[in-house]
């Protein structure tokens, strides 16, 4: 069809916690240079789907393909080495560390065996400046002293610090005010333009339609729709999210 090869493809993925089946055979595909939105009601399984891609909670069953090759993402380290970066809903920053330390956590730069603090500090400032962040006073501030919006910014900056192939954003705009939401959405677009595959989870359909190329809808652990953002509308999406529209994998 001329479409680029998906960087990530999931086929019939399943995940359960004890007796609770959270993902019941989910198909999903993400293309490079596109923003793929993942929507669904609370508890639909969006975060669970993402955690599987990040190697946090590997799936129980199903096929995972990365760059067309079947693999299993068993650890966050493997996900990171593949170039998959996640910004979680609960951010997961270390409050006792400063912004630089958080941005580089797990991938510190080292010079002769010791931490290269000033090099990391410089790159952190540059990355934040590149995202036109102006609300943060100092990159050496402890994260515990930051507001919700600032923390979100740090988390996103952390994800784009290196050249990443896939950036997954779990409700990136939920805690943000108007201006910062604008900035984040602009950033999301910029990422996709650079060729990154962006997955964005959001409850805010206005945000979704502002940036998404493709929209997937999860309903009670099943993927009920995969739609082109240009050929669908908010009413349809709401229908799929609430279950009033019947399950069918849309225009493939």
């Amino acid at each position: 069809m001329g479409a680029p090869l998906p960087v990530i493809e999931l086929l019939g993925v399943e995940k359960s916690f004890g007796a609770v089946d959270v993902l019941k055979g989910v198909d999903f595909a993400v293309e490079p240079g596109k923003v793929t939105a993942l929507v669904g009601d609370n508890g639909a399984g969006k975060s669970t789907l993402i955690k599987g891609l990040a190697g946090i909670q590997p799936y129980d069953k199903g096929i995972v393909k990365f760059d067309g090759k079947e693999i299993s993402i068993e650890s966050p380290r493997l996900a990171a080495s593949l170039g998959i970066e996640v910004v979680y809903q609960d951010l997961a920053l270390c409050d006792n560390l400063d912004i630089v330390q958080n941005m580089f956590l797990g991938r510190e730069e080292v010079y002769r065996g010791t931490l290269n603090e000033s090099a990391m500090e410089k790159k952190a400032s540059q990355t934040l400046a590149g995202l036109s962040v102006k609300t943060v006073k100092s990159v050496r501030q402890k994260v515990e002293r930051l507001s919700g919006g600032q923390r979100q910014t740090v988390a996103i900056a952390r994800a784009v610090l290196r050249d990443t192939k896939v950036v997954i954003l779990d409700e990136p705009t939920a805690a943000l005010g108007v201006a910062q939401t604008e900035q984040v959405l602009a950033l999301v677009k910029r990422l996709a333009d650079k060729g990154v595959a962006v997955i964005m989870i959001s409850h805010n359909l206005v945000d979704v339609f502002a940036v998404a190329d493709k929209i997937y809808v999860l309903y009670l652990g099943k993927m009920v729709a995969a739609l082109d953002a240009k050929t669908t509308n908010q009413n349809d999406i709401v229908g799929y999210i609430t279950g009033t529209k019947s399950a069918q994998m849309g225009n493939k």
Binding site: N96, L115, N116, S147
Partner: protein, 411 residues
């Protein structure tokens, strides 16, 4: 991307006044570090020098270092564990078991270095064991180390024999706490330490400017070097004074244990502040989930931390044995509590994520000075324990309150 002019600061910019007001802002928001303990230490020192004529003598000054050494080393080990919001109740008996292994080695006519190696390796093995159980089996460290606290007392009893007491004959082991550097060696020790401090200060600045990052006003480095220089000068000069009343047996010089503890402190601080491992220890203490997601091998870090703690406990045991001159079946048992107290009094948080080794050093001196001063004034152990307990409670309250205050976002 703008490479020339970042709109975001680093906290290193600003003149002296701005830097100082920044520091006060930090203290006001509850991030006090070891400041309260430092003030406490100075107040106690002044108080005891007024109340006891013996306190400020060079003999007592040297004695204070000997008294504090084992405690400080144990507290340093506990800082690692406390940063993870874990605990090691068995550190004291680990010191005891290791000291017992030391005398076994010595009694077997092994070279003293080999005996020390055996004692230290005992600590490594014990810590590794605790770490594995905590990390892999997932039992809370409180329970694991409580079990070890009981079991290792038994082990120590089995090694030493009930009521047994082994005298230490090795002059090298005894020297750690009972011999001193010569006056010249003391000054060489001072000069080398100052050179290293100065060099590392300037090297850090050079590294930052090479990466194009701003430095604090150089005055701060000069002040730091000057303060350390004067303190060190006073310390070495005081320890070099003659402190024996018997002219036939002169005693003077820096106790050997001082450079030993200083070296341990510098080395372990380097590990915590300048290596990836150190960064991961703090990260794990701050938010284990974030650490895990960042790809940090959480279990390995935990195991390493417990291993470090027990290893330092073993070294603390060797230092104790050197001071007491013997090892018995109950040695070290109560020391872990003083060690935890020292760390907490110094400002190490019980909630994890925060703590520095310098705080263990300062806290260790606070505990030792209370013990020393009250002893000189003729108070009995009861008063001593009551006051130490009160100080600990005070420090823990300060920790809890500053944590609450810290949770309020200030911008």
């Amino acid at each position: 991307m703008s490479t020339t002019n970042n709109t975001i600061g680093t906290g290193y910019e600003g003149n002296i006044r701005e830097q100082i007001s920044g520091y006060f802002l930090k203290v006001k928001s509850g991030d006090m570090g070891s400041l309260p303990a430092m003030i406490g230490l100075i107040v106690l020192a002044i108080l005891f020098s007024i109340m006891s004529p013996v306190f400020l003598t060079s003999l007592n000054f040297a004695n204070l270092f000997n008294q504090a050494a084992a405690l400080i080393v144990m507290a340093m080990g506990l800082v690692f564990v406390l940063i993870l919001a874990e605990i090691d109740l068995s550190a004291g008996v680990t010191a005891g078991v290791s000291a017992a292994m030391l005398v076994i080695g010595l009694n077997a006519e092994l070279h003293w270095t080999l005996a020390i190696a055996i004692a230290v390796v005992s600590g490594v093995v014990i810590g590794y064991f605790i770490g594995i159980i905590v990390a892999k089996v997932g039992i809370p460290s409180f329970v694991v180390t409580l079990a070890c606290f009981l079991a290792f007392q038994g082990l120590q009893l089995l090694i030493i024999g009930s009521g047994g007491l082994y005298r230490i004959e090795s002059s090298e082991i005894l020297a750690i706490q009972n011999s001193n550097l010569s006056i010249v060696q003391g000054w060489i020790f001072y000069l080398v330490s100052m050179l290293l401090l100065t060099y590392s200060g300037f090297a850090a600045r050079r590294r930052r400017s090479r990466n194009g990052q701003p430095n604090r006003p150089i005055t701060f480095l000069y002040v730091k070097i000057a303060v350390a220089g004067v303190l060190g000068l006073v310390l070495v000069a005081a320890l070099n004074l003659e402190r024996s009343s018997n002219k036939a047996f002169p005693i003077h010089g820096v106790p050997i244990v001082v450079p030993v503890v200083l070296a341990l402190w510098v080395f372990c601080t380097f590990i915590l502040d300048r290596t990836k491992f150190g960064r991961y220890v703090y990260a794990l203490g701050g938010n284990p989930e974030a650490a895990r997601r960042a790809g940090i091998q959480v279990n390995n870090v935990k195991i390493a931390v417990f291993t470090i703690c027990s290893t330092l406990a073993a070294i603390s045991g060797i230092i104790s044995a050197s001071r007491i001159g013997s090892v018995d079946a109950s040695m070290g048992r109560t020391m872990v509590l003083s060690g935890i107290a020292a760390a907490v009094v110094g400002g190490v948080s019980l909630f994890g994520g925060k703590g520095r080794l310098s705080q263990a050093v300062i806290g260790g001196f606070v505990i030792a000075i209370i013990d020393n001063g009250l002893g000189l004034m003729g108070f009995n152990a009861g008063i001593n324990l009551l006051i130490t307990g009160g100080v600990l409670l005070l420090a823990a309250s300060a920790d809890a309150i500053s944590r609450k205050r810290g949770n309020v976002v200030v911008r």
